[in-house]
């Protein structure tokens, strides 16, 4: 077993502190609950008028307090870690993933920062692929997505799977949309930098116009040029297609969840309406064919 004592000790002590505060929270909540009920714990014992919900809630709070109290003692936590070899490994893996991903992002940010100040070439987007959102999507797909794909069990398995899938598709759509929006922002950055360079050149040559409108018109023209160039790049087309596809996937997953929810109501589902629409369409076509045949 790969038991890292030093690491386990640190995690245990951190967990211990957290558990203590957690325990206090549950204790306070239990006390508050009792205050709300207007009864002391002693009075509550054997009281027949307390509703089932209230007593259930009180029991739940007490249970949580007991569990967190037990877990907050160093012995219990140590025993818990020693008894289960998987838990620290999962924690460690999660920590490694997060730290690793964060480091990768940070490295990329530094690389990007390092490029600031480079001369801006008009109508070029050659460094378009070096973006943080694509990287985040990669990390999400490689590291976090798997947690949403854990097999679900039991009676509600199907519903849970659909919900997990919706969350997954939403995350992917968000990531792609962010990347797409970032890309749409590029021409603004480029055009402003180009304008700065142009204006300083014009100022040096004494050609700087005092008409603000002239500067605006110049900027719009440059911006339009940058957009036109960006829109032709394969990177933009790829991100656009990916965003549309992920939106479609998210919509389909969301519809599946809504359809499950709609089953509880006496209304027609989207798929049922579509099926009916198709049947109606085919019947109309058939009717028209028959009409035409009878006309001949």
């Amino acid at each position: 077993m790969n038991d890292n004592t030093e690491g386990a000790f640190d995690i245990t002590s951190a967990l211990d502190t957290w558990m203590k505060s957690y325990n206090d929270l549950w204790g306070n909540m239990a006390n508050q609950w009792e205050t709300i009920l207007g009864q002391s714990p002693a009075e509550k014992k054997g009281h027949v008028n307390i509703s089932t919900m209230q007593s259930g809630m009180a029991a739940l709070l007490k249970n949580w307090q007991s569990i967190t109290t037990a877990m907050s003692t160093p012995e219990s936590a140590d025993a818990l870690f020693k008894g289960s070899s998987a838990f620290p490994e999962v924690l460690l893996k999660l920590a490694q993933t997060s730290v690793g991903s964060f480091a990768e992002m940070q490295q990329n940010i530094f690389q990007r920062l390092g490029r600031i100040g480079d001369s801006v070439k008009a109508y070029e987007f050659q460094d378009i692929d070096e973006n943080i959102f694509r990287m985040w999507t990669d990390i999400y797909e490689k590291e976090f997505r798997q947690f949403l794909q854990v097999p679900q069990l039991g009676l509600l398995r199907g519903y849970q799977e659909k919900i997990c899938q919706t969350i997954d598709k939403f995350n992917l759509f968000q990531a792609n949309l962010s990347e797409f929006l970032r890309m749409l922002g590029l021409p603004f950055n480029h055009s402003l930098q180009v304008m700065q360079e142009k204006m300083s050149k014009m100022a040096e040559e004494g050609k700087l116009s005092e008409d603000i409108q002239a500067h605006y018109r110049m900027w719009i023209k440059v911006l339009e040029g940058h957009f036109m160039t960006l829109f032709q790049t394969p990177e933009y087309v790829e991100v656009l297609a990916r965003t549309i596809n992920s939106l479609a996937d998210f919509s389909a997953a969301k519809d599946a969840v809504f359809e499950d929810m709609l089953m509880a109501f006496p209304v027609a589902k989207k798929t049922e309406v579509d099926e009916m629409g198709r049947e109606l369409y085919e019947l109309k076509k058939r009717l028209r064919r028959l009409e035409q045949q009878s006309d001949r």
């Binding site: 700087l208 339009e224 957009f227 087309v237 629409g277």
Partner: protein, 413 residues
């Protein structure tokens, strides 16, 4: 190198001047916006003479004596509305055609709903269009009519004319994409990479807002920024505001696009370029452009960012017609129809071209049953002023009275 002086003082004084102007403009602008504005579209009176499902056929009331033997049917695209041809009195292609003495019909495709998602190209071309054309032929008791298609409606018209050449006398195509194998237009570049099956299977019909957002993305600097900066700059000009609002109303008055039409149009045309290669099959029949033998007038815009000249100009090389002509105008996609200047170059050109080919049509054999309207409609009929079209048809829309407002100047296309 000598350092030139930057005229900071001048720039600052200009800024002050500008801010004063903005203040006064905002004051006047609020009066304009709160006052009475005429922003109604499509005022030229018409009657709906045929209706099938959501599709209507408009017949415009003549403004002068009809001087053409053959009526003209205009087929607009499924994207946006045909009201673009009749933005306002004095700036209307419809008015110009009527003033030339053309007997004018126009298809209104309506607003598709979820149940229309399965209607494909065959249903629109061999279904609705064919029924409408049969109806007009029946009403006028003629074999052939004149057909004019706009944008996607032009592509429909080309396909129809190749499949049913016996029913079309002259064909006019305007800003009509037929060659999809070009990288000049952004739509052509983007559509190649769209997973259209995934989109249609998920959304059903293509939502109008998604489509409009896509169109805005074709030129965000102009369509999302400069356009509204221009609006703010002219806020105190009532005529400008009216024209702007009218145009904006039309731009964002978009019906959803039936899912199957979108799927087939993208797959067959944008991704397969099947039309020009005679590989397209509609309703089980091959669309052979060599069978398109009637006179063809093909008009397009030199600066069209949606349907570039490369997508339009090659059509005449592929059709079987001996009488064919390309006209390229120095304007964009909708400038042809909405700018008064280009209407001058566009509508009379079509009217003259049709006049030269307007021979007395042969009388048609007795009308088939199928030419009767699918849905006999009779709502809001104001038949007192108009010439009745036929016994079987009933007008459904209340004719719109024209207001006597002075014509406005065009907005920026």
């Amino acid at each position: 190198m000598t350092q030139s002086k930057i005229p900071v003082d001048l720039i600052l004084s200009k800024l002050v001047e500008e801010s004063e102007k903005v203040q006064s403009r905002a004051k006047k602008g609020s009066e304009v916006l709160l006052g009475e504005l005429d922003t109604e579209l499509a005022k030229t009176p018409y009657d709906v003479v045929y209706q099938e499902d959501r599709v209507k056929l408009k017949h415009y009331r003549p403004r002068t004596e009809t001087r053409y033997h053959t009526p003209l049917l205009v087929v607009y695209a499924l994207i946006n509305r045909e009201t673009m041809l009749d933005l306002q009195p004095g700036r209307s292609v419809v008015e110009r055609f009527l003033d030339a003495g053309i007997d004018l019909y126009m298809i209104d495709w309506g607003y598709p709903t979820r149940k229309d998602r399965f209607f494909g190209l065959d249903d629109h071309i061999n279904g609705y269009m064919d029924n409408v054309i049969d109806f007009i032929r029946g009403q006028h008791e003629i074999d052939k009519i004149n057909l004019m298609g706009i944008c996607m409606g032009g592509t429909f018209s080309v396909i129809y004319s190749a499949l049913h050449p016996e029913k079309i006398k002259n064909l006019v195509t305007t800003v009509t994409p037929t060659n999809f194998d070009t990288k000049k237009g952004l739509l052509h570049v983007w559509m190649e990479h769209i997973d259209v099956d995934r989109v249609v299977d998920t959304f059903g019909n293509l939502p109008a807002d998604v489509m409009n957002f896509g169109f805005l993305l074709l030129n965000p600097a102009r369509l999302m920024i400069d356009k509204y900066v221009g609006f703010m700059e002219n806020l105190d000009n009532q005529q400008f505001v009216e024209n702007f609002v009218r145009m904006d109303k039309w731009i964002f008055d978009s019906p959803d696009l039936p899912g199957e039409v979108f799927r087939e149009f993208v797959k067959y045309c944008y991704q397969g370029n099947m039309l020009l290669n005679n590989k397209l099959e509609i309703g089980g029949r091959q669309v052979d452009l060599k069978k398109l033998t009637m006179p063809l007038l093909n008009i397009y815009g030199k600066y069209d960012h949606l349907v570039p000249p490369e997508a339009c100009e090659t059509l005449i090389n592929h059709v079987g017609s001996g009488d064919k002509k390309n006209i390229c105008l120095d304007t964009g996609h909708i400038g042809i129809y909405v700018s008064s200047k280009y209407q001058e170059a566009f509508a009379p050109e079509i009217a003259n071209w049709l006049k030269e080919r307007d021979k007395i049509p042969k009388k048609k054999a007795p009308r088939k049953k199928s030419a009767a309207p699918r849905k006999a409609t009779g709502v809001n009929a104001d038949t007192s002023k108009k010439k009745p079209i036929a016994n079987k048809s009933k007008p459904v829309a209340k004719p719109r009275p024209a207001k006597s407002k002075a014509p406005s100047e065009p907005t920026k296309p």
